[in-house]
């Protein structure tokens, strides 16, 4: 089964098998239909993200794609020396991949935020976190959507 070739190629260079496995395991057979990969690349400045540090909390099955609760937490001491600066969230099969970008600082105390998002169909929600030292992390979670929520 071919799945997410573009993403696999992009991520294979850095963290290699581990990162590719994240997408391979959870993604649908189709290639990303939207600009998710470009959005991630733009956010990381072309840097390859490493799997880990991010906890992406989403339901396994969303009954209503119009409002899916999501909590993202990034492990970090959130000190001046070491903290999360931004977290990008994209959905790989929504009409537009962008969901939200959170901006944190040491004043945030923890790199954690919760909101409710729209998902058009079953897909991967991907979180990419940038740290103040330039390191970048990634995680993804598949959400099965029964009733799509993009108004289409």
């Amino acid at each position: 089964m071919t799945s997410n070739f573009n993403r696999r190629q992009a991520l294979a260079l850095g963290a290699g098998a581990m990162t590719a496995a994240v997408f391979g395991a959870s993604s649908s057979p189709a290639l990303a239909k939207n600009d998710a990969e470009e959005a991630i690349k733009k956010f990381t400045g072309g840097k390859t993200p490493v799997l880990g540090k991010i906890k992406l909390d989403l339901p396994e099955i969303a009954e209503n794609g119009n409002t899916v609760p999501m909590t993202v937490t990034v492990e970090s001491p959130m000190t001046e020396q070491s903290h999360v600066t931004d977290v990008l969230i994209v959905a790989d099969e929504n009409p537009r991949s962008g969901v939200v970008t959170f901006h944190f600082s040491p004043a945030s105390g923890v790199a954690e935020a919760n909101t409710r998002i729209r998902l058009a169909a079953t897909q991967d929600v991907i979180a990419v976190a940038k740290m103040n030292d330039g390191s970048v992390f990634i995680a993804s979670k598949q959400v099965k959507v029964t009733i799509g929520g993009c108004g289409g």
Partner: protein, 108 residues
């Protein structure tokens, strides 16, 4: 029609260094620009695209919302209590207008 956000801090008084949790909800259609009305015309996009929270004038958290944020956007986050002062939450609409809500935190 004035839109008043609903804001809840999990504590009104905190010791310095404590984490304060903020929950906020604001009424907004968050029109994503993909929906069609009864005549088949696309309803234009109109969302709140930016959210910021400052405490005693200093930004503690911000978010850029895209069209995939649900209607009546809900946001929950934390900040580290450093100094007493106003907790100001601001949402900015695509059209430049803003919705502002304010609470106070007392830090001992």
């Amino acid at each position: 029609m004035a839109v008043k956000p609903r804001i809840k801090l999990d504590k009104k008084e905190a010791k310095k260094g404590d984490l304060v949790e903020v929950k906020a909800l604001v009424s907004h259609v968050m029109e994503n620009g993909l929906r069609r009305d009864a005549s088949g015309n696309v309803v234009p996009r109109k969302i709140l695209n930016k959210f910021t929270c400052t405490v005693a004038g200093k930004q503690v958290f911000a978010a850029d919302f895209e069209t995939a944020i649900s209607a009546n956007p809900y946001i929950q986050f934390k900040f580290k209590a450093q100094e007493s002062g106003p907790v100001v939450l601001t949402w900015t609409d695509d059209d430049g207008s803003t919705i502002v809500g304010e609470e106070t935190i007392t830090v001992t």
